[in-house]
């Protein structure tokens, strides 16, 4: 018997979003206009199905030529070095997606759209 498991992109996105948001130095994920549009669609769908899907705003999942790429948009804290936080997000997304879905992420592209400095 052969069996195949298919892990859908929203699952990867949900896991990746949670991994990225939980990385030290990340203040929040930044959805952008496209993420907002997707979130509105999801909210509408949740109302029909009665299920609340895991938030994945700020995360995009692409598959091209069999390669899985995750793009994450984040706001980081100015206390830590942005480059180091970015790398930590890459590692954490790859690790969590592999652990929770079994899928290997080929590349994680992190975009730091803002750095929040502490108030003076």
């Amino acid at each position: 018997m052969t069996s195949e498991y298919v892990i859908a992109a929203p699952v990867v996105a949900g896991v990746a979003a949670r991994a990225a948001a939980g990385t030290a130095g990340v203040v929040r994920l930044e959805p952008g206009l496209r993420g907002l549009a997707a979130a509105l669609v999801r909210a509408a769908r949740d109302r029909w199905t009665g299920l609340a899907a895991a938030p994945a705003e700020g995360v995009r999942v692409r598959t091209a030529d069999g390669k899985l790429t995750v793009e994450v948009d984040v706001v980081v804290s100015g206390i830590d070095q942005a480059a180091a936080v970015g790398q930590a997000v890459q590692r954490s997304v790859r690790r969590e997606v592999a652990a929770q879905t079994g899928r290997t992420v080929d590349a994680v592209q992190v975009s730091i759209v803002d750095i929040e400095m502490e108030a003076r």
């Binding site: 669609v41 100015g78 070095q81 480059a83 790859r94 759209v113 003076r120």
Partner: protein, 186 residues
Amino acid sequence: MAVNEDYALPCGRDVDTIWDRLDRDTDEHDQDCPHCRTAREGLLALRSATRELIDEPDPTPPDLLGRIMSAVRAEVRRGQMLDLASAEPGGVAVSTQAIAVVLRYAADSAGGVRARRVRVRQVGVDAAGAAQVAAELTLTVRLGNSAGAETLARVRELVSAAATARVGITLVSLNLLVEDVYEDGE
């Protein structure tokens, strides 16, 4: 339908063109260009979202305006991204606006000086793949500051240190333009 009169993507195409071609076949450029692909996906998501919302007569979600404005601000900040060094597959990029925030904060912390405009642009790429950056800060200095030269030296030191320690980029040049003076209590 006109989405935006003159919103050109970095590749030279404008969003109007992409909107018009949304239902037509994509050409080679559409498929290869990351800017066009991103814009296209965004417009498709937006179109399906608006259609579903029109079909769905429920009240609009709370704080919709706030969320739209925050999303718009994020899009603007995303404007220009510079690469940071990363050993992991993929990449890490930071917006020039985010770098400007860090540099301005560092300059302000020198005391006796306030940063106004901060311009950041990429001038090259270092061995690790990180952007090399040239920055220009416009400053106002406090009136009666007898140690002006020292203050500027401190600004220079703090700003360069912040670029490395807080962002992870190297400043290859830093120009300070003192444009104005202010009085205490201002």
